[in-house]
């Protein structure tokens, strides 16, 4: 679906933000892109959206090079949700806000209506269709940004640190929308995040960026298994993975605390120490 081939990117001469990055993203994946600030996560995601053109190498989306393309050309295939939803809100109602993208792309009005309805249903904002977008909570605004991207029917959704600064309930609401999109609609999710418990719980693949290169690419459970220099990469081990590592050495860390409890109870039952 997306092929990144030996991509370099420099903001300033001789200062590489991306250094020979190569990776392949298959349809239906849920990927977490992690790493310390300035490691190249956002630059990589921007290169995949044609917001930046690589200084060397190439990016292919469905086999087609992004060279010379504008983000608006890619928007039907790849959606991008920015960290700050306030930067894009322009309409008087939530429904109009979601309709902006397909309308700008020249989609027929009836189809626009259908897409808006579907996007609002998927993101749980259907009841707020007539609300003024700026009065929404921050979490709702973020879901609105997701809905606005979904209205263009992208097959890949890139989300740049959209869970930061939210309470647990709002964060959960956004992440469950993404999970549903991934599992039910087959949308490929690329989530840039600093929250390692989210990585462990939701992602099927974790890509760690360090100094502009891919330092790790694999399952989140393998990332937190204890054999990688997490501190050097600016990452922390989620509590569940740390506890699982102590109690179940050598086994893959469960996604969350509930799953860990279940594994432990099962193990104790098998050992005959729990009825």
């Amino acid at each position: 679906m997306i092929n990144v081939e030996q991509v370099d990117f420099c903001y300033k001469r001789n200062q590489k933000a991306l250094n020979q990055v190569s990776l392949t993203i298959a349809p239906g994946e849920f990927i977490a892109l992690v790493g310390r600030n300035g490691s190249g996560k956002t630059t990589l995601s921007r290169v995949m959206m044609a917001l930046l053109q690589p200084t060397a190498g190439r990016v292919l989306v469905d086999g087609e090079s992004l060279k010379g393309k504008k983000p608006s050309d890619v928007a039907g295939t790849v959606g991008y949700v920015f960290q700050n939803p306030d930067l894009q809100i322009l309409a008087e109602t939530v429904a109009e806000e979601v309709a902006y993208g397909p309308a700008a792309k020249g989609v027929a009005p009836e189809e626009v209506k259908r897409r808006v309805h579907r996007a609002l249903e998927l993101t749980g904002l259907a009841e707020l269709a007539d609300a003024y977008p700026r009065t929404l909570s921050y979490g709702q605004k973020r879901r609105l940004a997701v809905a606005a991207a979904l209205a263009l029917k992208p097959r890949v959704l890139i989300l740049d640190e959209i869970t930061g600064g939210q309470d647990a309930i709002e964060k959960e609401a956004v992440l469950s929308v993404l999970k549903r999109l991934n599992e039910e609609q087959g949308v490929t999710i690329i989530l840039i995040t600093h929250d390692m418990s989210t990585v462990l719980r939701y992602a099927g693949r974790a890509i760690v960026m360090a100094q502009g290169s891919v330092a790790f690419d694999g399952a989140p459970q393998a990332l937190f298994a204890g054999s990688h220099p997490l501190a050097e990469w600016g990452l922390s081990c989620p509590a569940v993975a740390a506890v699982a590592g102590a109690l179940l050495p050598g086994e893959a860390a469960p996604a969350d605390a509930a799953a860990l409890c279940q594994v432990l109870i099962e193990k104790m039952r098998r050992n005959g120490s729990c009825n």
Binding site: K70, P71, S72, N84, D86, L87, Q88, A104, A148, L152
Partner: protein, 222 residues
Amino acid sequence: MQLTAFSKIVATMAVTLWAFLLPAPVLAGLLLLEVLMLFSAKPERSSALALASLLLFAGLMVGLQLLFSDDVVTAFLGGLRMMVMTTSFLCMFATTRIQDITQALVEKFRLPREYAFMLTAALRFIPDFLADSKATLDAQSCRGYSNSGNPIRRCLACLAVVKPLVLRAIVRSETLALSLELKGFGGQAHQTLVLQPLHVADYAFLLLLTLVTAGGAVLRFA
């Protein structure tokens, strides 16, 4: 020894006056000197961009004058004067901290602190506004925004960028006002100023400015 903000503000005002007093060849030389000064103080792409924007406006001005009058020399002289005046401001901003300008306006020019701060707050706002406009343009591009087609279509499309920007600027100014109030800005109590005394270099520079201005006035009116 560095010049104080006061001397630089006076120099900017003097250059504005010189633009109307000095002959065109001297102004061209002065402009060259300003450009050299700008790039030695701030050898960055932003300096070149700022200069290019000024050149564009100067070109527009010359074009308009040529359109409505036959006097080619006056049109080009007008453009040159505008470049000399505005580039002097670029030089001042490239070499002086905004806080120092605010303080010089309050301490030496006796401008009320509120007005001086308003002036400099507006200047600080520009880089933030440019960053926001870039981010908004990126965000809307990812949603299918495209500034192509006929001019009317382009103008209407621009609203998708302008509207969020204006709303964000309002929110930002409200936040700034609130944070200033929380810090006690505008209170009637005595405010401490770290004074910026003038040095020998400042006095020499101010003397030079006075001499050049007087010379220019003699040349122009004698």
